[in-house]
């Protein structure tokens, strides 16, 4: 597998997981099923997260009742008079009153997007700190990395790897384990439990992968 192909695969996986965390209408499920097959063909099995990935894609391809799945989505991620059981917003997990609370966190995230030259469209998610947007950001960085590999711009590859590593560690990678823990604690159905496990396995692996790759590119 060539490095640009690896970057494209990672881009696809981030986009895939970002979409899987949006409300599960029939069209989205159909697209996710098709995308899962494409990503499989791109070589997911070469990586350690493949087994968790496969457990999720098995759940995805055998969804029997999309309406029940939608209900589970609402129960886990949206409903609740008080707290949402499993919020998909970073501020729900990481806003610290001592350092300015939610407002300060959101401002820092917005600055981060601007530094990366990105402007999030929050039309679907309702907030810039939604997990889908953070994963979409990683996908955008991976796309740039793939282009850099394809054009032989090694210095730019190194810069992009550093950006990916830093954004992943500072944002989605820092709170995805908490989402996964809550999905287990809330006894989520097979689909969302497997989704949480696969996302955790992938992002945990990607942090390590980026560290190894960044160090390698730096010494080559």
């Amino acid at each position: 597998m060539e490095w640009h192909e690896v970057a494209r695969l990672r881009q696809g996986l981030y986009r895939f997981f970002g979409a899987a965390l949006l409300p599960p209408d029939l069209e989205r499920l159909r697209l996710l099923q098709a995308a899962a097959g494409t990503l499989d063909d791109m070589g997911v099995d070469a990586f350690a997260f493949a087994r968790s990935w496969r457990r999720f894609t098995d759940a995805l391809t055998t969804v029997e009742d999309p309406i029940a799945l939608g209900s589970d989505y609402i129960r886990l991620f949206e409903a609740g008079v008080g707290d949402v059981p499993v919020p998909l917003f970073e501020s729900a997990y990481r806003a610290d009153a001592r350092s300015g609370g939610t407002g300060a966190l959101l401002a820092s995230i917005r600055r981060r997007y601007a530094d990366l030259g990105l402007e999030p469209d929050t039309g679907v998610t309702g907030g810039i700190d939604h997990l889908s947007i953070e994963l979409e950001t990683m996908a955008a960085l991976c796309a740039r990395e793939a282009e850099a590999w394809e054009t032989g711009a090694e210095a730019r590859v190194a810069t992009l790897l550093a950006q990916e590593r830093s954004f992943l560690a500072d944002h989605p990678g820092a709170w995805i384990p908490k989402v996964t823990d809550r999905l287990h604690a809330m006894k989520a159905d097979r689909f969302y439990r497997a989704l949480g496990d696969a996302l955790h396995a992938f992002t945990h692996h990607d942090r390590e992968f980026l560290a190894v790759l960044e160090a390698g590119v730096g010494t080559a």
Partner: protein, 492 residues
């Protein structure tokens, strides 16, 4: 003799043994505990595994017989994931290591099957990535299939860092562990997954899915049980080292790094019927982290202990010298021989079955210790017993007297008791072996009366502690001293 692994594991996943039947390696007609498949061209095309009917679901375990140099580990791991098998739970048997003998291969396969049956599964945190080959201009064009190895994980429920234990931190050759605020922080990026933390941990809280003590014990037991050789020996080999040609009767046991071996791991196979144990250092590769020196110290201590109990030190070494010695007579492997406090139990088993002389030998690397308490300094605060991770030191109140007991069978010489003692020099740890005290059972190291309250009769503090306070306060504070030494907190 009852060997571990000879019983059926309840609910154990199905095991399949798949052997590449290229070349002329004589293959066995069956494999103990596994269904056997033969597959031509398996080394060059590991994807052929997909063609086999491996029914058993997600928990299936595999043993692969492959020819070294003819397969890429990354490609094999990829093929395994494609069929839903965790590659970390798969044992690869080097077919040439069978040296042309079907009996030998049968034994190797039985050992591998026994080991994979104990694979506990691996979380993402317990899987460590390696991209083969250094990054070069050529490597920048193309990624070779990544290879994954097992990485350690600390069970926060079992870790006793909260009481001050942090023996794993200085033991880690890569500096991947740090101790702060009563907990151990682990840096996976720095970690080299050598396994030293696994065998250093005083409570078994550190786990590496590819170096499970029960799996190693079962593998050795299966070798002993299955082999047709007149004597069986064990050769510990590093995960990254090639298996050299082994003498007849010697069987390999892979560990993440032989630097992780303890005296207990070296001597335990002798209590299971193995006659010789060899631990090979990295050889030409070398980790550069001092693990070879560590291994040399452990092998030296094991040989010294054997020399004391048997007057034959040649049963343990770090080089291959020939076929194994005959097994030692009438030995039984103690429970948890490969566990944190297994070292003393293994040594005691050897000593009880052989002629153990009365001796006292100092050992630098063995996890055997003897704690002494200086009564003139100790205030009987019992802090040492409270933090002892293995309960080798324990305290109790017997009719108004505080007793601190010491059980050398449980001591792993971690030194935590010395480190936490508020009275500098009250506790001393001597590293080594004392016959026959090791097997004499718990001993009272310290006995101190408890002063009682003149009002309610309840306990105030150990008398020695009050004496220490009196010495510190001097005559100027006689009234204060009188109060605190005669009345308990509630009645003051």
């Amino acid at each position: 003799m009852s060997l571990p692994g000879s019983e059926e594991l309840v609910g154990a996943p199905p095991v399949f043994a798949i052997l590449c039947d290229d070349h002329d390696t004589p293959l066995p007609p069956k494999v103990e505990g596994a269904r056997l498949f033969l597959a031509g061209g398996l080394c060059g095309a590991p994807v052929r595994i997909q063609e086999l009917p491996l029914d058993g679901g997600d928990g299936v375990r595999l043993v692969l017989g492959l020819h070294p140099g003819e397969f890429e580990l990354g490609a094999v791991q990829t093929a395994l994931r494609r069929i839903g098998v965790d590659p970390l739970g798969v044992e690869i048997v080097d077919l040439p290591a069978a040296s042309g003998s079907a009996d030998r291969l049968t034994t190797l396969l039985a050992g591998a099957v026994a080991r994979v049956r104990r694979f506990p599964g691996a979380t993402p945190e317990e899987t460590k990535l390696r991209i083969p080959g250094a990054f070069s201009r050529r490597a920048l064009l193309r990624m070779e299939a990544p290879v994954y190895i097992g990485a350690p994980r600390i069970d926060p429920q079992a870790c006793v860092a909260g009481t001050g234990c942090h023996v794993c931190v200085p033991a880690c050759p890569a500096g991947a562990l740090t101790f702060a605020s009563g907990s151990i922080a682990y840096d996976k990026e720095t970690c080299i997954a050598c396994g030293i933390c696994v065998t250093t941990c005083t409570t078994g809280a550190v786990r590496n899915p590819t170096a499970v003590p029960e799996g190693v014990a079962d593998q050795i037991a299966a070798y002993v049980r299955t082999s047709q050789d007149p004597a069986v020996g064990v050769v510990y080999i590093c995960r990254d080292g090639a298996i050299p040609p082994l003498p007849e009767g010697m069987y390999p046991v892979r560990v993440p790094c032989t630097g992780m071996l303890t005296v207990g791991w070296l001597l335990a196979p002798l209590t299971m019927g193995a006659g010789t144990v060899v631990a090979l250092p990295c050889g030409t590769v070398g980790c550069g982290l001092g693990n070879e020196e560590r291994l040399a110290g452990v092998v030296g201590d094991a040989a010294t202990i054997l020399g004391v109990v048997e007057a034959v030190a040649g049963r343990v070494g770090h080089r291959l010298v020939g076929p194994p010695s005959p097994p030692l007579p009438d030995l039984e492997m103690p429970e948890d021989a490969f566990g944190p406090a297994g070292e003393a139990a293994v040594v005691a088993a050897l000593a009880s079955s052989l002629a153990a002389p009365e001796a006292e030998i100092a050992l630098g690397s063995a996890r055997l210790g003897w704690v002494t308490i200086d009564e003139a300094v100790c205030t009987a605060c019992t802090r040492c017993a409270q933090v002892c991770p293995t309960d080798a030191l324990a305290h109790r109140d017997v009719d108004g007297t505080i007793e601190i007991d010491f059980d050398p069978m449980l001591c792993v010489a971690c030194g935590t008791c010395v480190e936490v003692c508020p009275e500098s020099g009250a506790n001393e740890l001597w590293r080594g072996l004392r016959w026959p005290d090791l097997v004499a059972g718990p001993q009272v190291l310290r006995r101190e009366t408890t002063a009682t309250c003149e009002v309610c009769g309840g306990p105030i503090a150990p008398s020695a502690m009050l004496d220490r306070i009196a010495a510190m306060l001097g005559d100027e504070h006689a009234a204060t001293l009188k109060l605190i030494s005669r009345r308990c907190l509630r009645c003051r």
